[in-house]
């Protein structure tokens, strides 16, 4: 659909450029790095993947939604990507948006905002070699937004933990027990 005035812009909420490079192998659209999680603040993103439809005039045609670009996690999520692809095609060709496009997305609360800033500070201190300061601010961030994946899970590799290990499954369990709070549309 690239010739139809449509494009994908991928943003990695991540500082591991080598690992992102592997994921982006063969991709021809722009892949940008957001190591400071600016988009989690300006777009109120609390987990990935999150997709936002943006029209020709820079207006949000469909806000944050948890959609996948492949069926790699279908067994886990119970969803396939085909539905989303069909919806995008209808939007690109016929300007038709799905019923959930006017969903309201809850704003971040003060704790969720502060958690993002603590995360940014922790990541900065870690890069500067201040491990003790980094841990202190990763902890502060996790305390303020304990179920936010961009805060808690994103910190795991930066704290020497596996983002696919025990800590992740503990987070997932707590997240699901809390009703899977996500700033965006979670398609059925």
């Amino acid at each position: 659909m690239a010739d139809d005035g449509f494009m994908v812009i991928a943003v990695a909420i991540d500082e591991a450029v080598d690992e992102v490079r592997v994921l982006a192998d063969g991709i021809t659209y722009p892949v940008l790095m957001d190591p400071n999680h600016i988009l989690t603040e300006t777009y109120a993103i609390s987990n990935v993947p999150a997709v936002v439809w943006i029209d020709e005039q820079g207006r949000i045609a469909r806000p944050n939604a948890n959609e996948f670009g492949s069926d790699m996690f279908s067994e886990f999520t119970g969803r396939t990507c085909q539905g989303h692809f069909d919806q995008i095609r209808a939007w690109v060709h016929d300007d038709v948006v799905p019923d959930d496009a006017d969903s309201e997305i809850a704003d971040l609360d003060e704790d969720e905002i502060a958690a993002r800033l603590h995360f940014r500070l922790a990541a900065h201190l870690r890069r500067a070699g201040n491990e003790e300061g980094a841990v202190r601010h990763f902890d502060a961030a996790a305390e303020l937004a304990p179920l936010d994946f961009t805060v808690v899970r994103a910190a795991m590799p930066l704290r020497g933990e596996s983002p696919f290990g025990e800590e992740f499954f503990k987070l997932l369990e707590e997240y699901q027990a809390a009703g899977s709070p996500f700033h965006g549309i979670t398609p059925a």
Partner: protein
């Protein structure tokens, strides 16, 4: 005097001091540090100005309190006097315009080759913004 690091859109530094946990800098250093300039009409950036009255809320002696400046322009902060860092968050109005008025916030980030790209570089197209990660 010490160096205060400001983590905003970019990493900036300013010469200043910490007084009772407050980050204070010279008024002349404000613009480079946070992107806002103190003028007679208020704190200004581009064609936007925020009134600050007589300025007493942001001034401490002949210096400016960075945290109070951020508060005046509705940008959140986290400060760490021990590390001498001020984290300056994005304007709350930017996110609120996205959520309420559906204005997609512009951003400029480096691609995998280090070239800076902005959402607005691709205005005129329908864009699918995909936030993803390796974690």
């Amino acid at each position: 005097m010490t160096t205060i690091t400001i983590l905003g859109d970019e990493v900036a530094t300013a010469t200043g001091e910490w007084a009772d946990g407050r980050p204070l800098i010279e008024p002349d250093a404000l613009s480079a540090a946070v992107g806002w300039t103190l003028k007679p009409e208020g704190l200004c950036r581009g064609d936007q100005c925020v009134l600050v009255g007589d300025g007493s809320a942001i001034r401490v002696g002949d210096k400016l309190d960075l945290a109070a400046v951020a508060n005046a322009v509705d940008q959140p902060t986290v400060i760490d006097p021990d590390a001498s860092v001020v984290v300056l968050g994005q304007p709350n109005a930017t996110r609120q315009a996205a959520l309420r008025d559906r204005q997609a916030p512009d951003f400029t980030l480096a691609d995998l080759d280090g070239a800076e790209r902005s959402l607005s570089d691709y205005a005129g197209k329908k864009r699918l913004l995909v936030a993803f990660s390796s974690w």
